[in-house]
Symmetry: C2
């Protein structure tokens, strides 16, 4: 029987662990606080924000909101970031991107202190992932993949892992995290070629799909017993939400698989809280 | 016939190109300058320094030396770095590591400006490699591998590349550079297991060996026509210099191979000069 790797189960377990940690921090007089920086009223930002706030409440993390008009100037926004940097009561920051076109995203990322960068967008965080020094934090979705594997007891030591996609948000950081767990990682991308990609996937124990291409991975890529982590969130031709993996084709064959929706995406806000709490611990 | 990928040929071609560039910079009033920071009189540091100074003279790069006693304090050394940071006539810096035990290497790396970090040791440089933004510079040996492939017209687009070793000096940065050239990279390491490593190497078009284990890679890892880049510099049981690749076993089978000595190591000082000149160009 194929095991369904449900995100909710991982998020619930994480939430319970984090509740204990916030209670413990509270006793020491520390109230973990996340600040959300949002410019404008983008629907998907608002939806993620609602999810994050619900999760924060459950876990015992305070949320402060910095909400700006779509027309904000670069100077004002950087002023806000500076205020957040200096505010010792704020431990972690989530900045929704992309920002409006009058704003230089890179300048905003540069302004944020890596110590508060719980969404892994600063150079300091990315360097920390690359070097394994754990300065700053990983992008939440990349870490969510690792939390799922960890929760279900899927060890990576000496395992072959195929990462499909080389973005800075998933592919590259997840490859580094796999390496840190002593897995042997191959990073495939648009230039890899279908034949090679099939061969690489077939020879892997774990497959992490993050290409952003709806249902691209069918059973021809998969071998029996394999673990499949599907990071994709796409809308297919029928207007239905689907992953990068063709679930109906792959799930009868593989050993374990994350559904979409209800897989990786369901873990990200819990990971965000985990990182806020880690930041709060490091601040004391 | 197996092609011998000679480092000298690459270094000579690079030197000629760089001579033209320093002449052009000179006409614009810019004299590219490398500063070497050495603490104590370590033999291998002195030997590399001599090589670098010879190469600098050929290319038309000025060298300044900051030489400190083995007993230098952290404060004094950081003072020297600060002076170098502020000196607009200095474009690139090479700091020999490891430093004596009273010195915190990490603090020294942190003090150096990534813009002058032509040896790729700062967090800024490593983040630049990871993100592909080219802030700072790559470690010279990692880039030397890429310069060799480039010089001999070995294109990586859609090719399979096995990187053996996951160090911050070679394995990880070279993997990122391969990805940037649109190659499909697998990073093997001590936990990969011999059987898997043989299979991965056999399925690769290019093999970059940087494990630091004398003559570990024999013909069982190699397929006909493969390109083999040997980054290892080891001393074998007979006291002879040798690479990570067993040259006599592998060279009759593969398509192209770098010798040791005379391969990657022969290119590093030319790459160092290349990066000093790039830093000088960016400074104007």
């Amino acid at each position: 029987m194929t095991q369904l790797l449900k995100g909710k189960e991982v998020a619930d377990a994480l939430t319970e662990r984090l509740q204990n940690q916030t209670a413990e921090l509270q006793r020491r007089g520390v109230k973990p606080c996340l600040t959300i920086v949002r410019v404008g009223e983008n629907d998907s930002d608002l939806s993620y924000e609602r999810g994050a706030m619900k999760r924060a409440e459950k876990v015992g993390v305070t949320v402060k909101q910095y909400i700006f008009e779509e027309t904000i100037s670069q100077e004002e926004l950087l002023g806000g970031i500076e205020e957040i940097n200096e505010d010792a009561s704020i431990h972690g920051v989530l900045i929704f991107q992309p920002l409006p076109k009058q704003i230089d995203d890179a300048a905003v990322r540069k302004a944020l202190r890596p110590e508060k960068d719980v969404d892994g967008i600063t150079e300091g965080s990315l360097a920390g992932i690359f070097t394994g020094t754990h300065r700053g934090f990983a992008p939440c979705t990349a870490r969510a993949c690792m939390e799922i594997l960890d929760h279900y007891g899927i060890d990576l030591i000496g395992k072959r892992v195929a990462v499909l996609g080389r973005s800075l948000v998933i592919g590259k950081p997840v490859a580094m995290m796999v390496m840190e767990k002593n897995g042997t990682v191959t990073v495939c991308h648009s230039k890899t070629g279908k034949e090679a990609m099939i061969e690489i996937c077939q020879n892997s124990d774990v497959l992490i799909a993050a290409m952003g291409r709806a249902a691209m991975i069918d059973k021809s890529y998969v071998k029996a017993g394999q673990t499949v982590i599907d990071v994709g969130i796409n809308v297919n031709e029928e207007g239905k939400l689907c992953g990068d993996v063709d679930f109906d084709s792959v799930s009868p064959l593989c050993g374990a698989i994350t559904p979409v929706p209800g897989g990786v995406g369901a873990v990200t806000t819990a990971v965000l809280m985990l990182q806020v709490i880690e930041a709060a611990k490091l601040s004391v």
